[in-house]
Amino acid sequence: MIIIITNTNLGTGTETSGRADNRAFDELRKMKIEAGVLERADGSAYLEIGGNKVLAAVYGPRELFVRRLMQPNKAVLRCKYNMAPFSVDDRKRPGPDRRSVEISKIASEALTPAVFLEKFPRSTIDVFIEVIEAEGGTRCAGITAASVALADAGIPMRDMVVACAAGKSDGKVILDLSEVEDKEGQADVPIAIMPRTGEITLLQMDGNLTEEEFEQALDLAINGCKIISEKQKAAIKNRYGDE
């Protein structure tokens, strides 16, 4: 028996946040960040950007029970990225898939350079990213939120890592692709940086870009990161005051 879907509204919620919506090529989607949103976690943050809703929580530094992961001279930072089953149009089966395993790995590597892990030998800092609703760019949203949660947990850091993507859609290099722009686009370049030094802690790319287009996209994404970085700082300030 064939199933036909008429007048689908799938994705209509997302179109409003597309460039159709008059965003400039270098303009971010509307966003907000809040620190300290959960009680049990040592640190936490909530982030919305476009249709994305992301929670991040941090536990640690704490004892590491998995012996074979233990480092004698520093802490291990372990990040788990997970999508809620209801966060996407077609229900996602619970549990890790290959995509979330990869994102967990690169998110750990994106956050690690900023943390003074050497202060906590033999321990672990656990970062959990939960995507509550997904609309393109969840890995960047998750890393950005995780940094705020690390700061909220009082973990000593060199800098607050911030992530943002640029890419190419409809033939143009643009900042912060929405879900529709990503799906119909030609390339996506998610990055994370430490804004003080500009060092790049995450870089991925898929699609098709000339060397020049890639250079433009990288510039755009770095600028996007800098704007978001201010919102991260404001979220921390908002929670702990200014002094």
Partner: protein
């Protein structure tokens, strides 16, 4: 990981209860502050976020078209799944659902199913072939005790919030009309109240601190008519027959109060 509660905390919580008090000043039959929002996830056909004290669960309902079970060919399917996220508590671990998560899923499911919250027969599209399956996913993000009552309250709210496209049969094909969204058919609003036994006292809506010292736990599901639709005892101690009957009486009153929070 076994979480060991220091003896001194155990004693102080227990002694307070013995004297008719609770650490947060509540009466024995008093819930913590509850907040309940619906429609919090645009991509979910139904959703809710419930907080009881600091306990927080986000619930999404998503429909799929699937096959009915062989022995109920004209009845839709409700699937309840709970994730006790490692984000929610320091001792929750990633991985497949453990026994606590399974119990929470199954008791929630039982209260909703036996309370006949959803009219599952109306979810039949083609008898014996195609029915709506409703996946109810409970994402526990912050754990401060009494997951059961939060899970049922939030789930019922999410189901009440759910809208499905109309499914028509045209020329032997199923046509889903997304211009014509229909609320999920709701029959009842069964809810659950949970009691902890500390010493010889029953207290409603135990906080995490209270759960850690309780001897046993009793959850009672009550329909809007005041009938009992689900019960579950937990914990390593016992209840007397009288305590159980008392809990049922209180649950009737308290679930009626909770019901006013529904949309």
């Amino acid at each position: 990981m076994v979480h060991i509660v220091p003896e001194i905390i155990k004693e102080s919580v227990t002694n307070l209860v013995k004297n008719g008090e609770r650490t947060d000043g509540r009466a024995f039959d008093e819930y913590r502050e509850i907040s309940l929002e619906t429609g919090v996830i645009e991509k979910a056909e139904g959703s809710a976020r419930v907080k009881i004290g600091n306990t927080q669960i986000i619930i999404g309902a998503k429909p799929q078209i699937g096959s009915p079970f062989g022995d109920t060919p004209n009845v839709g399917v409700l699937m309840t799944n709970t994730e006790l996220l490692p984000m929610a508590a320091p001792n929750f671990e990633s991985g497949p659902p453990d026994e606590n998560s399974v119990e929470l899923s199954r008791v929630t499911d039982r209260c909703i199913r036996e309370g006949e919250v959803v009219d599952l027969e109306k979810l039949c599209i083609v008898e014996g072939e195609k029915v709506w399956m409703i996946f109810l996913d409970l994402h526990v993000v912050d754990y401060d005790g009494n997951l059961m009552d939060a899970a049922v309250l939030g789930s019922v709210a999410a189901l009440m919030n759910t809208k499905l496209p109309e499914a028509k049969i045209i020329d032997d094909e199923i046509v889903l009309d997304y211009d014509n969204l229909i609320p999920l058919p709701i029959n009842d609003t069964a809810l659950m109240s949970t009691f902890a036994k500390i010493g010889d006292e029953l207290i409603i809506d135990p906080s995490l601190e209270e759960e850690e010292v309780m001897g046993a736990r009793l959850s009672v599901g009550i329909t809007q008519d005041g009938n009992i639709c689900a019960m579950q005892k937990g914990g390593e101690k016992t209840f007397t027959q009288e305590e159980i009957l008392k809990a049922v009486s209180i649950a009737k009153i308290k679930t009626a109060e909770l019901r006013k929070l529904l949309p």
